[in-house]
Symmetry: C2
Subunit: 141 residues, 2 copies
DNA sequence: ATGATACTTGACTATTTTGGTCAGGTTTAT
DNA sequence: ATAAACCTGACCAAAATAGTCAAGTATCAT
């Protein structure tokens, strides 16, 4: 069970961005330099964040990105969802009645993985971008 | 964040095996057929489980595998550990003081991922093989 | 004894996912 | 005008995953 870089970078970049929220747009170039993330890769990530209305873009010189909602209202769930970093524990299709084993009943462990998925998602549902910025600020004191 | 088949199969196979615990050894062939898991793949998995003393092997005709400890004392953590299905959320090396960004301090999100890792591991620490067998039995009623 | 069953080991491989890069745009402030 | 910055899609290499395959060895039932 590993977290991918895409999800990690998305959150990292947004925390960086959120710190300047309301001051001015933040360019990907700056985030790239500060967080050591490839600029090209960041562009892919922000394209998705924009489509899911997590951020807004400001084009042209002095442009960049700004948050499209309040940091308190952006949960990790939203971010992960936007960049397709989904939590997937079961093998089967959930809607289907068939199990991952091809049989007509769910496998011995289906229920367990489903519980696990819920458990993990609970974590993501609770944490907001605002929480992260604050925790990070406190740790500096 | 996805669970791999190796971890999923390991637990699935052990639940199957645990149901016959104390009655007789269970052959991988049987598990393979019942759970629709490749026999060759199961062999790899059980080799690891044996090395970590989760199961014991009984060779020869009518042989198979039996649990090496009580089902109540086998936690998901132990199983996942045995088959190298580790939960990995941070990018950096934990012991190192350096961050995943190559800088001398941990990145903005390090702490978050560390929390997440703990959160997930809590789940695995709680669940035992015995729990799983029982839950499964109850669901049948 | 001897076959059949089942564990044991190690190498090998195909597929998928990941983590990017690259090339070529378009927009807009100065 | 021009440079800064966003935008898009195609492309690609490395790593991880999910197996397969081959060649054993041990043990039991008959
Ligand atoms: S994971 Fe859903 S049936 Fe096995
Ligand atoms: S994950 Fe540890 S420093 Fe970024």
């Amino acid at each position: 069970m590993r977290l991918t870089s895409k999800g990690r970078y998305a959150v990292m970049a947004l925390v960086d961005l959120a710190r300047f929220d309301g001051i001015n747009p933040v360019s990907l170039r700056d985030i790239s330099l500060r967080q050591s993330i490839s600029l090209d890769y960041l562009e892919q990530i922000f394209s998705k964040l924009r489509k899911k209305e997590i951020v807004q873009s400001v084009r042209g010189t002095q442009g960049g990105y700004i948050l499209n909602r309040k940091a308190k209202e952006i949960k990790l769930t939203n971010i992960f969802d936007a960049v397709d970093e989904k939590v997937k524990t079961v093998q089967c299709k959930k809607e289907s009645k068939k199990g991952c084993n091809g049989k007509s009943t769910k496998c011995l462990t289906h229920n367990l993985w489903d519980e696990l998925e819920t458990h993990i998602n609970n974590f993501f549902d609770k944490k907001s971008l605002d929480d992260l910025v604050k925790e990070n600020f406190e740790r500096r004191l």
